[in-house]
């Protein structure tokens, strides 16, 4: 299998400074927030790659860069060998753009309430002047709704049904890759199971590749083939699913796994993790995790660990073995 997506040294910096006049008067420095910092990974065709991390880890920013909603500051994303940010051939860009689609977290905010479901779903094709006859009806049935729903408005559907509509819209342009940003966080458990099953079925039927962004480890464990763990904009560990869950190498990954509630953890007393995620504008020197890390030594506060391979795992930690 070959990599369909190649992410190389991806970095995105946001300028969150106060307005110029305030900066001059109050003598404030520029404030730069590095949301994504030097992230590299590859996604194989027809696989599910999951990015996990807590809020502020940069996982959604990576998803947005991937579909072209945000431009990278440095580094590149190559989809089927085309780098959207630097490619100049319009035909190539056009072709890649319809290959990649996105599903958002909140199915209440991502559907236009004034459009009929038919128009919502057909829009990705209609916008390019394609033929949309019967398209919405076909897709609705494919995602487990009925063709008659095409004439309704989004408010007539429940959360799970709306997420199905979002999936149908994402499928409209026959994509090969779908970026899913927390697709089930807004849904109840029993509905989440329905949507996740639908996504698994579609992947098999259509040979889709997913970039699956989530903070929920149990969902990731169920869906992903390969998992990247992000902390403060950096990839700290990456491994195939079973390797990562059986043998997490990075202390942050270990902490995440220990802190996640377990269904069979009756009366479990855990050593609650220390501290909170630091400020992304002034991240700690060296390894960003060192102030919270149980293994940290002096070197960790000085020197940023490089990604290195241990078995099937890639990990950025001085102490991991």
């Amino acid at each position: 299998m070959s990599a369909i997506i190649k992410v190389e040294h991806l970095t995105r910096v946001f300028d969150v400074s106060k307005p110029l006049l305030n900066r001059v008067i109050e003598r404030l420095p520029r404030a730069l927030l590095t949301a994504v910092s030097d992230v590299s990974f590859e996604i194989e065709e027809n696989s599910v790659y999951a990015l996990v991390g807590e809020s502020g880890s940069g996982k959604s920013t990576i998803g947005k860069i991937m579909v072209g909603l945000v431009a990278p500051t440095e580094g590149s994303v190559q989809i089927s060998g085309v780098d959207l940010a630097s490619e100049t051939d319009a035909a190539k860009i056009e072709a890649v753009r319809s290959e990649i689609q996105m599903i958002f977290q909140d199915p209440f905010a991502s559907l236009n309430p004034r459009w009929r479901v038919r128009d919502v779903i057909a829009e990705p094709v209609a916008a390019k002047g394609g033929d949309t006859t019967g398209l919405a009806e076909k897709l609705l049935e494919q995602v487990g709704l009925s063709a008659a729903d095409a004439g309704k408005y989004p408010h007539e559907f429940s959360g799970g049904q709306r997420q199905r509509i979002c999936i149908a819209r994402a499928l409209a342009s026959n994509p090969r890759i779908i970026v899913c940003d927390e697709p089930t966080s807004a849904l109840d458990v029993s509905v989440q199971a329905q949507v996740l099953n639908l996504m698994s079925d579609l992947r098999e039927e259509l040979g889709l590749t997913y970039l699956f962004i989530s903070h929920d480890l149990t969902v990731v464990q169920h869906m992903a083939d390969r998992i990247g763990v992000l902390y403060l904009g950096r990839l700290v560990e990456e491994a195939p699913r079973d390797v990562l869950f059986n043998d997490p190498k990075h202390p942050y990954t270990q902490m995440l796994f220990a802190a996640a509630p377990k269904m069979d953890g009756f009366g479990r007393e855990i050593e609650a993790p220390k501290g909170e995620i630091p400020d992304a504008i002034n991240p700690p020197t060296g390894c960003a995790f060192h102030p919270r890390c149980p293994l940290a030594v002096e070197r960790c506060s000085r020197e940023r660990p490089e990604m290195r391979n241990i078995g099937k795992t890639r990990v950025a930690c001085h102490m991991a073995e």
Partner: protein
């Protein structure tokens, strides 16, 4: 433990009159919480779990109102109290922790002012003493440099620290009952673990009864002593957390547990409950769960679902699942 439970809810019914008829978001719900006990209340959105909590603390938004049943706090009825009497009870006898810590704190007052105000409202102490207590309360919930942070405003705290302030606020007048409505849903996993550990420790130390409303079965498993499962306004199952979660007797609980990704570990597809919870205005006849239930029989379609008390005290179901079926399946 004393014989009188801290909170006793008896056949509680909450109704909302609407143009399209009467809705019952809470229908014939009964449960007790003992001192020092954590009762987990789970269910999907719209199951009535928050509405039950709001009914207990007297914060139902009109036109929703309690139309029958009783709520007893340490044996005293509180469901028929007026607004001012309830106001005195809230904070003093009952503390509340809501989902979003930013909206449950006043952004214009420092956390110290909010804490001392609550303390002085309910306890007969001087201004200085109230302030000292406020510092102690912040220290107890693990806020570093509490005596300095007491002069900070809510926006100067991070999400986890803010939720700690809310917990301090809920516990500062030493209530007997705390209602925690999705206290960690807005927080990250590592912070959630900190907050839950704190909540468990404080409640155990002080013997506070806790009603923990959440949709996260993992949180329930780790924190609760007993669990109440709600579906479409009714209690579906009530029992010890270990029994209910590992050996569900109500088909809904069973389906809910099976559809969590962990329970299906190693399976290619998750087990799913077909359909979605019915809307309150369109409840099916018979047991509200029957259209989604794989075990439904004629009786479930015709007769309204039984209450827990009329069954075995555990599952509100005409045909509860056998408790020992898991062992059978393994044998």
């Amino acid at each position: 433990m004393t014989d009188t439970p801290v909170l006793s809810v008896r056949n509680l019914v909450v109704e909302i009159p609407t143009r399209h008829g009467l809705l019952r978001p809470v229908d014939d719900v009964s449960y007790d919480i003992e001192a020092g006990e954590i009762l987990g209340v789970v269910g999907e959105s719209g199951a009535g779990k928050s509405m039950t909590g709001n009914a207990v603390i007297g914060l139902l938004d009109p036109p929703a109102r309690i139309t029958s049943g009783e709520i007893l706090l340490s044996g005293q009825p509180i469901h028929n109290l007026g607004r001012s009497a309830l106001r005195r009870l809230r904070g003093k006898k009952m503390g509340m922790i809501f989902q979003d810590p930013l909206t449950s704190l006043n952004p214009l007052l420092t956390v110290g002012e909010q804490l001392s105000e609550t303390i002085r409202e309910h306890l007969d102490v001087s201004h200085d003493q109230a302030r000292k207590r406020a510092v102690a309360a912040l220290e107890e919930v693990g806020i570093p440099a509490a005596s300095a942070r007491i002069n900070s405003y809510p926006h100067e705290f991070s999400g986890g620290m803010r939720q700690r302030v809310v917990i301090a606020l809920a516990l500062c007048a030493e209530p007997d009952l705390v209602i925690a409505d999705e206290p960690t849903t807005a927080l990250d996993v590592s912070v959630q673990a900190q907050i839950m550990a704190l909540l468990k420790r404080l409640c155990r130390e002080r013997g506070v009864a806790v009603m923990l409303v959440t949709h996260d079965m993992g949180v329930i498993a780790e924190a609760a002593d007993r669990v109440a499962v709600m579906y479409a306004g009714r209690l579906a199952e009530l029992g010890g957390v270990r029994e209910v979660l590992t050996n569900a007797r109500h088909p809904y609980t069973d389906g809910l547990m099976a559809s969590t990704p962990l329970a299906s570990a190693g399976l290619k597809r998750l087990r799913q409950i077909p359909g979605a919870m019915p809307r309150l205005g369109a409840l099916p006849t018979g047991c509200a769960f029957h259209p989604r239930c794989e075990y439904a029989q004629d009786r479930c379609r015709k007769d309204p679902g039984p209450t827990i008390d009329s069954c075995d005290g555990r599952a509100a179901c005409w045909f509860p699942l056998a408790t020992d079926r898991k062992e059978e399946a393994q044998a």
